[in-house]
Symmetry: D2
Amino acid sequence: MIDIAVIGAGRIGRIHATNLHLHPGANLRCIVDVSKTAAAELAAHCDTQVGSLESVLGDASIQAIIIASSTNTHAELVEAAANAGKAIFCEKPLDLDVATAQKSLQVAEQQDVLLCVGFNRRHDPSFERVKKEIDTGSVGDVEVVSITSRDPSPPPADYIARSGGLFKDMMIHDFDMGRWLLGEEPIEVFAIGSVLVDEKIRTAGDIDTAVATLRTESGRLCQITNSRRCSYGYDQRIEVFGSAGMARAGNQRETLVETAGAAGYARDRALPFFLERYKDAYRIQLDRFLRVLNGEELELPTGIDGLRALQIADAAQRSSDSGLPVSL
Amino acid sequence: MIDIAVIGAGRIGRIHATNLHLHPGANLRCIVDVSKTAAAELAAHCDTQVGSLESVLGDASIQAIIIASSTNTHAELVEAAANAGKAIFCEKPLDLDVATAQKSLQVAEQQDVLLCVGFNRRHDPSFERVKKEIDTGSVGDVEVVSITSRDPSPPPADYIARSGGLFKDMMIHDFDMGRWLLGEEPIEVFAIGSVLVDEKIRTAGDIDTAVATLRTESGRLCQITNSRRCSYGYDQRIEVFGSAGMARAGNQRETLVETAGAAGYARDRALPFFLERYKDAYRIQLDRFLRVLNGEELELPTGIDGLRALQIADAAQRSSDSGLPVSL
Amino acid sequence: MIDIAVIGAGRIGRIHATNLHLHPGANLRCIVDVSKTAAAELAAHCDTQVGSLESVLGDASIQAIIIASSTNTHAELVEAAANAGKAIFCEKPLDLDVATAQKSLQVAEQQDVLLCVGFNRRHDPSFERVKKEIDTGSVGDVEVVSITSRDPSPPPADYIARSGGLFKDMMIHDFDMGRWLLGEEPIEVFAIGSVLVDEKIRTAGDIDTAVATLRTESGRLCQITNSRRCSYGYDQRIEVFGSAGMARAGNQRETLVETAGAAGYARDRALPFFLERYKDAYRIQLDRFLRVLNGEELELPTGIDGLRALQIADAAQRSSDSGLPVSL
Amino acid sequence: MIDIAVIGAGRIGRIHATNLHLHPGANLRCIVDVSKTAAAELAAHCDTQVGSLESVLGDASIQAIIIASSTNTHAELVEAAANAGKAIFCEKPLDLDVATAQKSLQVAEQQDVLLCVGFNRRHDPSFERVKKEIDTGSVGDVEVVSITSRDPSPPPADYIARSGGLFKDMMIHDFDMGRWLLGEEPIEVFAIGSVLVDEKIRTAGDIDTAVATLRTESGRLCQITNSRRCSYGYDQRIEVFGSAGMARAGNQRETLVETAGAAGYARDRALPFFLERYKDAYRIQLDRFLRVLNGEELELPTGIDGLRALQIADAAQRSSDSGLPVSL
């Protein structure tokens, strides 16, 4: 049984807390949030207590913490938790600033604590199966990875303002996915951003549509396309093309039903958004974090993965700003 | 909170007990089984007690019971539970004998207790969606229902011996599905059974492959095909054809992945068996039973549905034995 | 180069004449039809002459004839052509009457001429591929064949009146397909017909919706469903289920396009009707007939196949009329 | 009836000559090729004569010519045919050199002759349907176009050497498709090429794997991926994403068959190569060229389209060489 605390009672904190509440191997000790109301509401939902950061850090019986608070608190919390000797699961991104993220990583390394980063998509059974097809050789040598990621609708303008921009907020997931599936480190990124969805996003200094290309030393390539709007649901697809074949993961639908009539054949939209699409991935992710804490050897995305994806996102932003490719 | 007991600690009892254990509105009071070991094992798994039938029936605070014991005990338990004034959820079939099933229904009616029957497939989101397409008119007037149901492999010979035969054990689900989707009572059944899978099944007096045709008064038709063997998983499909269109539900796969290589394109097998395929349906089924106990108005398959499906199965057996269609 | 004449300038005669006109190995000598206008129109379309039955039968340089005239002339023409020593390709059915068909077959046998029957679907590349999957063993021992065949809309009432009824006019194709794919002769048929589409069809003494079940000696089964109406195009599907696996052929669409929007995903309807769906099959069918005439050894559906399918259709009609299964 | 000559008796010349031979509105007057043997062989196949360039240009009764000879002869032949007042259908690319292509275009314009360019994919029914979805508004404002184009295997090394490189030889089709579907002129291209398939291609100074990104003034984006190798057939897919929805065209397979067995579900590979995949497109393309010559108003890709695609391909090559985006 792992004693664990959740920092952050927002949308993502709620997912993690609920999954921990239902997990037979986790003892969810408390919820911490700057809003006592939010913390209390989530704690009640999960049959647990409201806690404070100090009490969590000072309580040696709490072995691990989940950092799901706002991005600007991540690095500081990672350091504090590492200094308190706790295993850490931190939501992406580690920070919007590469140097700050790097520093928090160093602390975690010095304290020799486990630091996992919340790249939930790596735990999606379909994407994981694509990875397995690569690892078992059925795809052959990877040549081109194509990633499509489209949100159903843009977030509120105030979220955009503090999000760090599309590359660090949204495409960072795809950069991690690209690294994972390419099997080699990208050495260059070229990115273009456009405002095609909402002029308010331009006003906020961000973009809402973007494509990026990654290249590795040996010439493997990755194409990514992102949009903040998608009329047919949450569009999450991956295709890996290699010397021996191809593996791809498509969208999930609500049901397995197909209808037909005078207008042709019809099927459901894709699942609405990440809560539905990655429900299993979120659950599996925390289960694996707990299993690693119990001594199992599993490969999980760590602080280094979080840092690398952030570095690519940072370079993509510079590429988009300058109109030139950026070396990594 | 509904206080509830589970009778039967076998494969199906375990599903129900686990779902009740995880349900926030259920208080799983105890597990009853003729095998104390099985009951204790399942009770431990679900954080509850081992009980006896007498204690359950005599305890007025237990509002409902789940009957998941062996088929030959169903009718007797339904009567006992009804006489004790408890709401009843009974696995299919109510009994292998139509008259016995009928008698237990009468007792439940006299005692005016809720009696639901475990036609889990009605709660499958995809099949339910097909039904909704009918109800909302997109299929038009139903003309032909086609149902495919194939188990991955035959059950053990001793199970076959006490199963009541393929029609009452397996195709009964499809008879219920046919009634539900046709929207009219079948008035005739014609069934043919073959032994194509395993000669031991013939020795046990049963068949392993069968097709049946149902006809309603107005001429609506239903075709069913069953097999006790299927190399590519648990094959569960429904297609409803009507004056305005068609709605169908296909098989579910483990992942959304498609691969391609020199041999062509490939996708996963269908999910292995009913535990995986109807996982959600089992959960939703009990949740609805509890919601009805809490006063919500929901349409659930009742004792009458259980009886009607049994009558069709019984007639199908007679049709298969005689080689002639049988009126219902 | 094969010299050949086409008898019948209707819809089917036109398909055959056009295919012969474009075939490099055929010399389309003339078109014969009771309507001189129709014959002249089709002859002009195909750069050939109008002929008379007498001239065709009396011209030793014409090696083969295509019989595509109305059904009630088939048997007589088969006999006349056989007696004239010509190779014969005859549209289905040979006749509406089993004994008459049988007699024409005897003449063809006595004269030792090739007699092919126009079961065009056997030449469809997709259905042929299903057959090949059976023949190469990937399906294992065939257990159940399921055939769906739905016309887009009912034919005119006067066509119905002289069609011989749905079983001999429409389902006869599926009976042939069933025989071909079962790999064993059916020994029993049970059929039910309903009028669900058009009351005029009932008035004409026919049905518009039907299902049938075939059984072979060893217990292999075949289910067929037919409708004279289908809102989403011409629905032509086959599924063969066996001990080792399954092979199925789906519907063809106009394009490979899929769209998605707020209402979900959409694809084209199935191809409109048999002219589009079996365009390749009609072409391949005649090409093979010519190749056999040139000495190649190919398996083509012959007069016996035409007779067997007619016998099953005849029995199906009697089954539907009597409500009882009929032995074959 | 249009009198027409075909220049070039190679693989593409053969497609065009055969289509003209079968076209009821074309009078294929002769085949011209530097190899008299090749010309004679194709002429025999198409029931026509061998001709010489001089005789074709000097014969006023020949209204149109098809240029399907080697690329380095295209521009010269366009000019000669234009000066002879003939309508021209020229295979892509017009030339490997932008200035030379431009000059030949000017001659065609001065002589006011029709000059069509062989972007056959625009005539593919599926891709055309995607375009129609855009034009009728179901996709909304186009935002991102994604194009996948993979050849089954690399061409011989000597073909590579005189091909002009992957961008002008292969991706030029996708640049045309991108322009067509974006609905706006690209103003920038960024391209990366890799050698991942065959080292001989590197030796020949070319690449075998490439991705490119196009951007228009308003920020619309296009991603293209090309490979000279594809284990599962000829991979030709297009996806257009817009404000209201998405339209995509997938690969075509030999048959409509799906099989299933212990290893899962399987379908055929994609069609082998362009002869099979674009068979209809080649036929439709020439039919439309003839219809325009007969006075019909149809939009066909013209010399300007050929030039624009070449300019993008040229810029893509410079981008790939320099590692920098190139303005158009």
